[in-house]
């Protein structure tokens, strides 16, 4: 694969190192000349001095044949522009943006950039997971789609325990995919009856996370 990494901070540095170690072709773009010197020392010709938001820089590294562009600078607005230009101007098949302000995730999606990584968000969820035992825990956001995969534990004595999946008033665009029970993983169907102690894997749209939480978690507490 040919991967263009834009932003040679710590994230870009280690990402480039890992990609090179895995045998990929990489171009690492950095606009700060001081930082670039250090990167050139480490990576030789892989490091390129330039601005990843500048069409000329991207053309000079052969953006049109890139398989992936990863925008990992510390500025969300720069990462947005890098990804939009790569995707829409140069038809790069896959673009990934680092997001610093978790609030921008929704905006990036609205502006057509669906693959985003927010370390702030990941840390937030890790902390939340520690605090609330009966929380919807995000597993992953599906590529390009607006769907998220969640895991939730059904407590003993929960009102949804003992109910069949098709008897639940699930929010729209929501699917219970699987039930983890003891050592078993069952594919959930309409007739699957939920039991206390089950862990349920659910697929839902970001708009309905709250409703699903109300149904499975709040109900469990009442």
């Amino acid at each position: 694969m040919y991967v263009i990494v834009v932003g040679g901070g710590k994230v870009g540095y280690y990402l480039t190192k890992a990609l090179l170690d895995a045998g990929h072709e990489v171009a690492l773009i950095e606009r700060n000349p001081k930082r670039f010197e250090l990167l050139e020392e480490a990576f030789g010709e892989v490091a390129v001095l330039g601005d990843g938001c500048d069409v000329r820089t991207m053309l000079s590294v052969g953006v049109k044949r890139a398989d992936v562009v990863a925008a990992v600078t510390g500025d969300d607005e720069d990462n947005l522009v890098i990804c939009q230009l790569a995707r829409q101007r140069f038809s790069v098949p896959r673009v990934i943006a680092r997001i610093n302000n978790p609030k921008n995730e929704e905006i990036f999606r609205l502006l057509g950039i669906h693959e985003t990584v927010s370390s702030t968000r990941v840390l937030y969820h890790l902390i939340e997971e520690e605090l609330g035992a009966e929380q919807l825990m995000p597993l992953s956001t599906l590529r390009r789609g607006n769907l998220m995969l969640f895991e939730v534990k059904i407590s003993e004595g929960s009102p949804v325990a003992g109910k069949a999946v098709n008897a639940l008033n699930l929010p729209p665009d929501t699917l219970l995919v699987a039930v983890l029970r003891g050592e078993q993983a069952l594919v959930a169907s309409g007739s699957t009856v939920l039991l206390g102690g089950d862990t349920v894997i659910a697929l839902t749209a970001p708009d309905h996370v709250h409703a699903l939480q109300e149904l499975l978690v709040k109900a469990a507490r009442s």
């Binding site: 969300d76 607005e77 609030k103 609205l110």
Partner: protein
């Protein structure tokens, strides 16, 4: 007309003054309090301290009721992002971004994000002044940059992209 302006530099302040002279409601945002000095003393609109790619700040500025939004900070990418938020999320009817980089300006124009590039228009006006030609519309000068960009694209293709490994 209700107008929200992001960026209180020379362009933002002048635009704010022009519109408020005409009796329009102007709210101007900047992340640096000192910048509001550009407005002069007679400015009757509102000033808001904050960054314009933060939805909360835009809401505070009344973006939901705004008839027009101009993103004119000194950062091209900030302007591009803010303009898209105003257009796509808040559905502001008239949105424009100021973009210095001519190539970025053209790219976003093609993507349906209206913008004005003082670099493009400036170069075009100066050329026409030198040649004794009449000044033309921004569209005319934008078209010239499209041609300019094609020469860059073909140059990079001729030199050859880095070889595949």
């Amino acid at each position: 007309m209700k107008v929200v302006i992001l960026g209180c530099g020379r362009l933002g302040a002048l635009l704010a003054w022009m519109l408020s002279q005409e009796g329009h409601g102007v709210t101007i945002i900047d992340r640096n309090r000192e910048a509001f000095r550009h407005l002069g003393e007679g400015f009757k609109g509102r000033t808001i301290l904050g960054t314009g790619i933060d939805e909360d700040i835009l809401l505070l500025a009344g973006i939901e009721e705004a008839d027009a939004f101009a993103a004119v900070t000194n950062g091209d990418n900030t302007n591009i992002m803010a303009a898209q938020i105003a257009k796509l999320k808040f559905k502001v009817p008239r949105v424009i971004a100021r973009v210095y980089d001519p190539l970025r300006a053209c790219a976003y124009r093609d993507l349906g994000i209206p913008n004005i590039s003082p670099t493009i228009v400036g170069a075009g006006l100066i050329r026409d002044y030198f040649l004794g030609q009449e000044w033309k519309s921004p569209e005319h000068y934008f078209a010239l940059v499209e041609q300019f960009e094609q020469t860059l694209s073909s140059a990079s293709a001729e030199e050859g992209d880095p070889p595949c490994t």
